[in-house]
């Protein structure tokens, strides 16, 4: 079923919406949650929470990109669950991925300067649009979906070292880009 049809089901308050969403996007959502939680039971609970959140959100929203809408909710719920879990259960891959982003932080004097997340999202999106499709996919798969570098190497037919280098270069470029934007 096409995404607009699934969204229509939500608007009609038909419970088939959940069934169709589950049939089409369960794998993707579980991938997002598993990357963060590394615990199938936790991930499935997050999945149920996600379906409930989507059910509540549509209507009044009509997402243009349903998979992104789902993943965003799933990711937020999973990250919250991750925060609540004990430290030893935290997924080192997520921590590692977030640590890598340190290199992107511009070296401004005012380190406390607050940035509006939406505006920053717009700037980062703009940066990513200037990259090759494959590069930005890899970037987001690493820092948005928290995919391990080994998985990226496998999925994109590259060596792990090549993935590391690509991400290293992109982090440097993002830092420069953010500095040019005055951040």
């Amino acid at each position: 079923m096409d995404d607009p049809e699934i969204i229509d089901l939500y608007w009609e308050r038909s419970e088939d919406a959940i069934t169709e969403t589950d049939a089409k996007y369960k794998g993707l959502c579980m991938h997002v949650a598993n990357n963060i939680l590394h615990d199938r039971q936790d991930a499935e609970e997050c999945l149920n929470d996600t379906y409930l959140a989507v059910w509540k959100a549509i209507p009044s929203k009509r997402p243009k990109y349903l998979p992104a809408f789902l993943c965003r909710i799933m990711r937020n719920i999973a990250l919250k669950r991750c925060e609540h879990n004990s430290a030893k259960k935290r997924n080192p891959e997520v921590m590692l991925s977030l640590d890598e982003l340190d290199e992107c932080i511009p070296s401004t004097e005012d380190v406390e300067a607050a940035c509006d997340a939406a505006e920053l999202g717009r700037i980062i999106s703009s940066f990513l649009r200037q990259q090759h499709k494959r590069s930005r996919m890899i970037f987001l798969r690493r820092y948005w979906y928290f995919d391990p570098q080994s998985k990226l190497a496998e999925d994109f037919g590259m060596t792990e070292n090549a993935v590391k280098q690509l991400l290293f270069r992109m982090r440097g470029q993002l830092k420069e880009y953010l500095e040019k934007e005055g951040l």
Partner: protein
């Protein structure tokens, strides 16, 4: 900015990019079967392109003359004389039939030299001429756009005359065509070209640069070699090596050139190779191979 800000910023990346990243990118590695198919189809394509190359050479042996009523440049910098196509601008080609107008445009794309004046950093035709095959005169506009200059060894390069007048090294005759694609195979990258000479210079650079895999081959403390194959069975190797900020290019004859643009050694290598390509032939198959790891 704090790290939290950055992570929130990444969280807020546009939905279409998130959805795109969720999509599946085709793997760049191929099964043996696929490889075999690619080799076979590649061979067929090369054969077809070789034939096309000969036809093109035959048809483009000389430029369309303005005296030929079938293809006349009625407006623009090439007015009255197709050989005057030397500068970016807009030419209007009037032709009775499609083929002659296209021949003019192809010629304009291929050549950049007129008389003693050699033009650098010119131009690519961005809009193909499509004209009905009719006996009635038809007018079409050929837009030119200025592109980046072609720079090699720190100076602007001129385009060379059509390849049939130039041989390098020796009397190699290269008709191996297929470009614009870069395919990662194991630890190497095949890059092929099917553009005509002008496009090879201008678009070929993009083709190389757009091949992520080339960037992905490590430079830090490593290097890689590029092998150019000629259809007479000979080949020539170039080798790029060095460490961060200092790169050298070793030619097959053993000569070593220092890369000047240390921040963009990949680009300089591309330009260097393009310089070599221009000398020999626009039709090149190059194999980028990781030499030392990176």
């Amino acid at each position: 900015m704090k790290k939290d800000d950055l992570t929130k910023g990444i969280d807020a990346v546009d939905d279409d990019l998130i959805a795109e990243a969720a999509g599946r990118e085709p793997k760049m590695k191929y099964s043996t079967k696929v490889k075999l198919i690619r080799i076979l189809t590649g061979a067929a394509a090369v054969a077809a392109m070789v034939a096309t190359g000969f036809l093109l050479k035959a048809s483009l042996g000389k430029p369309p003359k303005s005296s030929d009523p079938a293809a006349i440049v009625t407006e623009g910098k090439g007015s009255g004389d197709p050989e005057a196509v030397t500068e970016p601008g807009t030419d209007t080609v009037t032709s009775a039939v499609t083929s002659r107008a296209e021949e003019y445009v192809t010629y304009a794309k291929t050549t950049t030299k007129a008389g003693t004046k050699t033009v650098t950093g010119v131009t690519t035709v961005t809009k193909a001429v499509t004209m009905p095959d009719t006996d009635e005169p038809v007018t079409t506009t050929v837009p030119w756009t200025e592109e980046r200059p072609f720079i090699y060894n720190g100076r602007e390069q001129t385009f060379y005359p059509p390849m049939k007048d130039y041989t390098y090294p020796g009397d190699t005759s290269i008709t191996n065509v297929q470009f614009g694609t870069a395919v990662l195979r194991d630890r190497g990258v095949w890059v092929n070209c099917s553009f005509d000479q002008a496009d090879c210079i201008l678009n070929g650079i993009s083709a190389f640069q757009n091949a992520d895999e080339i960037e992905d081959i490590g430079f830090d403390g490593g290097g890689f070699c590029v092998k150019v194959f000629y259809d007479d069975g000979t080949s020539r190797e170039y080798e790029l090596f060095g460490t961060l900020g200092l790169y050298y290019l070793k030619d097959q004859d053993g000569s070593i050139k220092r890369m000047k643009d240390t921040s963009g050694a990949e680009n300089e290598l591309v330009w260097y190779l393009q310089g070599e390509f221009v000398k020999i032939d626009p039709y090149i198959t190059a194999f980028f191979e990781e030499k030392y790891g990176g």
